[in-house]
Symmetry: C2
Subunit: 434 residues, 2 copies
């Protein structure tokens, strides 16, 4: 049995989840892994914490974690790019392994942190999709495969909001307010509902499975604010559910990386991932279609991933002859190969859902299809319900064939300018065949 | 870079999948893991194979694998308990790591093989659910959790058959014949459709996540032959789909381990796993509900899992100072703890679906419910369609409350004996709340 002494930075819900799991399952973990985890030091700006620190020393100075010679592994559970980034940098520089749940710092500084010994010393299973062991599934479980594509529901807030809009017909703003009340959305929800959080996670998956480069700027980012209950209902009528997806596709001409709403066929497994759950579907050349789902957030769910990394590091430190031999401390798979080119969003092809609010006049449908045909866009399905006195504006809903983004954008500009179009057109992409 | 020299036993679809993946993705695997895989020897009873052996020596004598000093790791891809068991035993005795896809040998001999150095030397990701990295997800990804329950669609043949019966209303016998023609079912289908294959896999999951003991006899086994298209349709009307499940539940009074058909709510993720796909849902105290799905069989899908184990062994051998140091060769998590008691099937509680073919006479429904109430069984839902001249036998379909197996069995015997009951009653359990 090897004892691994932990220093924990932060004392929020994830850190408290780590303490709770060690307290409850510590004996079980040791029986399974031969590694005994002991928390020796906790540092947090929060004074006099009310949680049981399990005998760990406490301080409000993060430097104490770095200076304590007892600390074998640091768990960085502060989040964000400020002091957390500084702590990770200094720990790696002093050859101390770090386990983090911090997606923002990896998305922005992954190339730096994973260079040199970082590859062996830094673990981040908890940074993507909470409890789901997606990092190790890609790095190890699918290590023999070439990844072809990845589709992820990686923001639970967005998925919860769409679910409530669909179930109860409640408008976006009301559902968002309720989600904030329940703690599923932040007071400032922009990070989640404008797609930034999902883009951070997709950046990590992109580096790990496809390009080897952490490059947030390569990801096209859209949120969910423009989707209405009507869109969800029209999509259902067409046999789809609307999901906010992270999508990566390896194509002959480059890698697509994008975060946006997409129509997913109702009978696809991914369409049936509900509430705040996350899921990542990976399609690879040998293993085929694999899907991993689970809670994407929450104290103990995230702590489960943090501790899986910690136990793995511990097992490797136990087998390594010398604790100072950093090569033996870990072996996170190197990201793959020469980075292929990222495809600009304008070159990505998608089928599209269009909801076009129009004046109820004869010949409107023909004008719309005529405008689309000028851009060589054809129509695979259409819905138009009858107008009524109370509803003088009629939605024309179309599914187009697959068309390159630049052409669709030009067509949309043209359509929006037609005088029969009564309000903003809503455009959503259809997910590539899952 | 470390070169790992492989000896492969068998040259069937999985072995050919291993060769294909190494040929196609070998460079990628080395870039990711630092391990280079070279196949140096293949042994198979098949003479003059027509596949590209990638320069490996070939022989028809398995002993050559054991006697070749070049072989670092043996891939046992023969299957079954005969020569495969003997090969694994002898390899482990000589301290050679073995990767196997053989569920039968683990279910029957897991305790022996995983004792002593087997724990470090024997890997078997491919033995359960093909491409899905479920073994490492339980052993490593969820290592910090206490597992509460597990629900698995772990036989693709059964899942395919139910899917076809549902989609086209085709009777069981016809679907089975078609599945045999397509290669989804064996010429002798009993192993799949009577639940034995699923029980082998569940035995491995039971040992790994719950009891630490490989004990096939602890698993209650039922197949799918008794399910008709009518049952699938009635279940749908009640809001369920019928799946053949492996179920493990940790209860206060013991561990339930059972393989049988079960009604799963139609909106549950598990209900939407279709065709020959497999899926395993694991519920644990920290990570909550996690689900892993993917192809459960197929040459390259299974090879993906075999190679994930092989690369992992290779990485550990690379970091170990001494190749002979068996402790460093691997570190498959030890199964957990003191084995808890397995609950006898008679003590398991389930809600039940009953389809009772009855004579169309007044008072029949009352007689049925009266008989059930004598065993304190109440009814949560019922369907009875009108009789017709062409259909003088009427199905009464009931969902019962949760009731202990022994009481349900006694009630069924009583019901079957009623003179109004016109044919065999079909009884299916409802899956525990997912």
């Amino acid at each position: 049995m090897t004892e691994i002494k932990l220093g924990i930075a932060g004392l929020g819900t994830v850190a408290q989840g780590v303490l709770a799991l060690i307290r409850r399952n510590g004996v079980l973990m040791t029986q399974r892994s031969g590694v005994s985890l002991r928390v020796v030091r906790i540092a947090s700006r929060r004074e006099k914490p009310e949680v049981d620190l399990m005998g760990a020393r406490f301080s409000t100075d993060l430097d104490d974690l770095l200076n304590d010679p007892d600390v074998d592994v640091i768990l960085e559970l502060i989040g964000g790019e400020g002091v957390a980034l500084d702590l990770i940098r200094r720990a790696l520089a002093s050859n101390t392994p770090v386990v983090t749940a911090n997606k923002a710092v990896l998305a922005a500084h992954g190339n730096e942190l994973m260079s040199g010994s970082g590859k062996q010393l830094l673990r981040f299973e908890a940074s993507v999709a909470g409890a789901i062991p997606i990092i190790r599934s890609i790095s190890d479980g699918l290590a023999a495969n070439r990844l072809q594509s990845l589709f992820g529901i990686i923001n639970g807030t967005c998925n919860y909001i769409f679910g409530e809009m669909e179930a109860n017909g409640t408008p976006f703003d009301e559902v968002l307010a309720e989600a904030q009340r329940l703690g599923y959305a932040e007071a400032d929800p922009s990070f989640d509902i404008d797609g930034v959080d999902a883009a951070h996670k997709l950046t990590i998956l992109l580096a790990l499975g496809f390009t080897g480069e952490y490059d947030l700027s390569a990801v096209h980012i859209e949120g969910i604010r423009h989707v209405t209950v009507a869109d969800i209902q029209f999509a259902k009528e067409l046999g789809y559910r609307i999901k906010h997806l992270g999508i990566i596709q390896n194509t002959d001409v480059g890698v697509e990386a994008r975060v946006h709403c997409a129509l997913v066929p109702s009978n696809a497994l991914l369409a049936n991932v509900n509430g705040v759950m996350n899921a990542v579907q990976v399609i690879s050349d040998g293993a085929g279609e694999t899907l991993f789902s689970g809670p994407g957030a929450g104290g103990e769910a995230t702590a489960s991933a943090v501790l899986s990394d910690t136990l793995d590091l511990g097992k490797r430190m136990a087998t390594a002859a010398d604790k100072e031999d950093s090569a033996a401390k870990g072996d996170m798979a190197e990201p793959s190969v020469i980075a292929p080119a990222i495809l600009p969003m304008t070159d990505v092809s998608s089928a599209n859902y269009l909801r076009i609010p129009t004046q109820d006049r004869p010949g409107v449908f023909a004008q719309v299809t005529q405008a689309l045909s000028e851009f060589s866009i054809s129509i695979d399905a259409a819905i138009q319900h009858e107008a009524s006195a109370s509803q003088p504006v009629v939605d024309i809903v179309l599914l187009t064939n697959a068309v390159v983004e630049s052409a669709m954008n030009a067509a949309l500009e043209r359509l929006q300018g037609l005088d029969i179009v009564a309000a903003d057109i809503v455009r959503l992409r259809v997910a590539p065949a899952l």
